[in-house]
Point group: C2
Chain length 532, copies 2
């Protein structure tokens, strides 16, 4: 064990302030561009490590939850500053571990630190505390009305699972961690095995902020683990109160089952699977099929298609306009260069998924991107096409193929749209392309919007689903299987609500009330009184 | 089949506007005061009836969710008025089916209609819609910021399970139904078998309001069913989007398991099990042991102890002050008269549960109320006592005994309190009795309050947990097993949030936006812009 000081990669886990080498096997990162192994070797944790991290988190919770909003906000700002301070090290290591291009990495660093600073603002603002007062009515008959005050409190230690496809913005210090810490919950991260070095760099940045703010060490821990054993142990640990996860449907539903089977079940916020339907209405196609086809291919190939909001399904009415769209998209896809996918596993699953589409008797491959044998885990874009009847007849055609693969569904007429939407599973997004000056498109959109609302967390008009703004009104969520819990969002300020619950204080003397509820309102937190 | 017109009891279910006699067996209500059967006989529904109700609810959802707030509020007000209109019939039938005294029934009618009218106010107010705007920044670099607007939408049809112990306020038109309808969700009620006539009266009052407001008939349905088959089918139905339940831990966890095992899991809001610890701090005992003992017995025997917030656990430091408390409570309990319990089943479980306490080698029976052989299902109050060590050693001593039974735990010293609290399961409430002028009590309360916060939904000081105010700041919730979902409350205005989820609208033209999000804000709903 050594103390947390350096940013040199060591291959150790962070159990509070201690750095510990896991003894349950090893893990080596791999450069998906070259296939080369990346030093150092990471030691994998076991149940005892999970228990230690959970115990430290539970120990830290009492003090951390009582930190004043300004203190917690300053802590989040320090994490952001620490990450800014290791930008160049991150650019290099993220590039080596993920194959993502440098501009994307720099953008994701900015997104990650921006997210931390946004949650600092949210914490300072105080509305997250949801303070409500009911004025007592001591003379009310037949019974007096008591003095009742409500605030939100943090739920307890949160387990966060890093995502493969956003090694920073949805990983160790990503949206789940930022919102959980903002809420006052200690965090135990299970680092994603695809980017252990990136995780270590960021984990140390957080641990240094914990130390700098004299917070209890258990506010943050990070473990490594292969397979599901460590993750399952973490979710099953009685000290863990909620779970944040971004990843596959299989992984997410396994964690949901573990959480539901606990003696005391806990909420799981898993963001899992979405094919993000894009509906091309007739007027939009008429006016701009080529432009739309080209722009669609741009959205499809962003990040080698490895985005939760990747447009995996395009729906339009068969005919010359849709042909022009498909031709333009096919040209762009054909011209697109292969690029490294994040991991061998993701690449293999992508190859299998797109091969299954290609082999389907009702599916035609419209275009494929350029291969590149020099890349160890190449992602090659693919565009497929099928009919509305075939799509309706085989639910496997609606399975997510994670990567730059999309399926164009050619309908006989717009009359098929409502039924197709009704048959879709829950999605993160739905996109409508329409001509706002075309009465037919507007009428159709009015009919379809309520149906889409029931299926998705975000509706985009005349844009593309990729690119999720981190803001106050954003929803990155949606009904199952897009997420495990459609009542919330994992991006944007509302994400903090996932880790809070209300408590009421009835006739508690002012001297004993938490500061946010005290008469004098020393923290100047907004409050509603009798609903006003 | 007949149409919904009369308030004469028929024994039929309500499947939308149709009245249908269930064919899967029969159910007869029983007067717990006399044991006499009550006409009419109720026909029990089957899976086909559940499917019909769910199909009607799904059909109704599209139109009901789009109703303007004023329209939905007026509908809730009409339900309240219809219930007011059948007050005398309710007083008679609830009395016969539950044995509850008339003042309680009249109070519960007022609470039920007050709750409906409160949710009408909440709906009109519009803040439930959670409208948030992000101002677009078309010139932002490197990428423009889109126009994003967020609102809450209803989740879909809700299954509500009527509770035995609040035949009105937590049953057919109770808090779950009121908040689900307020959110824009159709409701399918599974009526509680203990009060089918009460359920029919109230169900018809709702169905008449549905018809009066020209709403789709599927906005409300009500089925009867014995055992778990009908309830399980309802929760498993793919058209049901959320569940509200108040009842036993066994029943609630069974519904949780059914919901989690669905292909698309749904949220369950089950309010289940709580022993509502009451902590008597030394200063409070010193100053008012007798007064507290007597008041405690009053809270214990309210509603024959059949309240979720019944004080089933009392904790104090052993000694003469606690003796005085126990003596006073014992006198009051001894003098208390038996009263009818709600059902034979509840009475049997109460007898079994209190007998198990009595038989426990470390438990002493301190007092028992007066028996009454004239009552068919008599509830007799019981007060037991044990030591802190015995309580810590056997978790069965913390099991809920539903009824007027309570266990006094005598500690060696206040040092045992923190450990005892840490060992408790989640609770709806915790109560502290303290002397606000006693520094020792205040210091102890400061130490214990954060621990209690982690275990409960509501903290009461110098009062009693029974009597739950329906207001804006109330929390009737708490960690498992008090509820299945501690992030929320089933009483008070925040209960509407259980049946809502956020949707974001990105760059949607004004002409296509839902009214609450349109630039002109025709419904005058409050909105925040960029977090302000």
């Amino acid at each position: 064990m050594t103390t947390v000081e350096s940013t040199t990669l060591t291959g150790e886990m962070l159990l509070g302030a201690a750095r510990v080498t896991g003894r349950a096997g090893t893990l080596t990162a791999r450069d998906p561009r070259t296939g080369a192994d990346l030093a150092p070797t990471y030691g994998l944790g076991d149940r005892a490590d999970v228990e230690r991290a959970a115990a430290l988190a539970a120990e830290a919770f009492g003090a951390f939850r009582e930190t004043a909003p300004a203190e917690r906000a300053a802590f989040l700002d320090t994490i952001a500053a620490n990450i800014d301070g290791i930008t160049e090290a991150l650019v290099e290591r993220v590039g080596a571990e993920t194959g993502l291009p440098e501009p994307r990495i720099r953008g994701e660093i900015a997104r990650t630190t921006g997210q931390l600073r946004l949650f600092a603002t949210v914490v300072r603002d105080g509305r997250w505390a949801g303070v409500r007062f009911d004025t007592p009515l001591p003379d009310r008959s037949p019974l007096p009305r008591p003095d009742v005050r409500q605030r939100m409190v943090p739920v307890g230690p949160v387990a966060v699972f890093g995502a493969s496809n956003f090694p920073l913005a949805f990983s160790v210090a990503g949206g789940d961690t930022a919102s959980a810490l903002a809420a006052g919950c200690p965090v135990v991260v299970k680092a994603h095995g695809a980017h252990p070095g990136t995780s270590e760099l960021v984990g140390v940045a957080i641990a240094r902020a914990v130390a700098a703010h004299d917070l209890p060490e258990g506010v943050f821990s990070m473990v490594y683990g292969a397979g599901r054993e460590v993750g399952t142990a973490l979710v099953a640990d009685p000290r863990i109160a909620a779970v944040g996860f971004t990843g596959s449907r299989g992984g997410g539903t396994a964690l949901m089952a573990t959480a539901a089977a606990r003696p005391a079940p806990i909420p799981v916020y898993a963001e899992m699977s979405s094919i993000n339907p894009v509906l091309l209405l007739p007027g939009a196609l008429r006016g701009g099929a080529e432009r739309l086809g080209e722009a669609f291919a741009g959205s499809l190939t962003t990040g080698v298609g490895q985005l939760c909001t990747n447009p995996g399904l395009v729906i339009g009415v068969d005919g010359p306009d849709l042909d022009r769209f498909v031709d333009a998209a096919a040209d762009a896809v054909t011209a697109s260069a292969a690029a490294p996918m994040l991991t061998t596993g993701i690449c293999d699953a992508y190859v299998t998924g797109s091969a299954a589409l290609r082999a389907h008797p009702e599916v035609t491959e419209v275009a494929g991107g350029r291969a590149d044998d020099a890349i160890a885990s190449p992602g090659v874009a693919h565009l497929f096409s099928t009919s509305g009847a075939a799509f309706a007849a085989d639910e496997r055609l609606a399975d997510e193929v994670f990567g730059a693969s999309s399926l164009v569904v050619r309908l006989f007429g717009t009359g098929e749209l409502a039924g197709l939407i009704a048959g879709l599973e829950g999605q993160l997004t739905a996109t409508l392309h329409l001509d706002p000056s075309d009465d037919g498109d507007l009428a159709l959109a009015r009919e379809l919007l309520p149906l889409l609302e029931n299926r998705v967390g975000r509706i985009v008009v005349n844009g593309w689903p990729t690119g999720v703004e981190v803001s106050t009104a954003m929803v990155h969520g949606g009904p199952f299987p897009a997420t495990s819990d459609g009542r919330t969002t994992s991006v944007g300020t509302r994400a903090i609500e996932r880790f809070l619950r209300p408590v009421a204080y009835q006739d508690v003397p002012d001297a004993l009330l938490p500061a946010v509820l005290a008469d004098a309102n020393p923290l100047d937190v907004p409050r509603t009184v009798d609903g006003e």
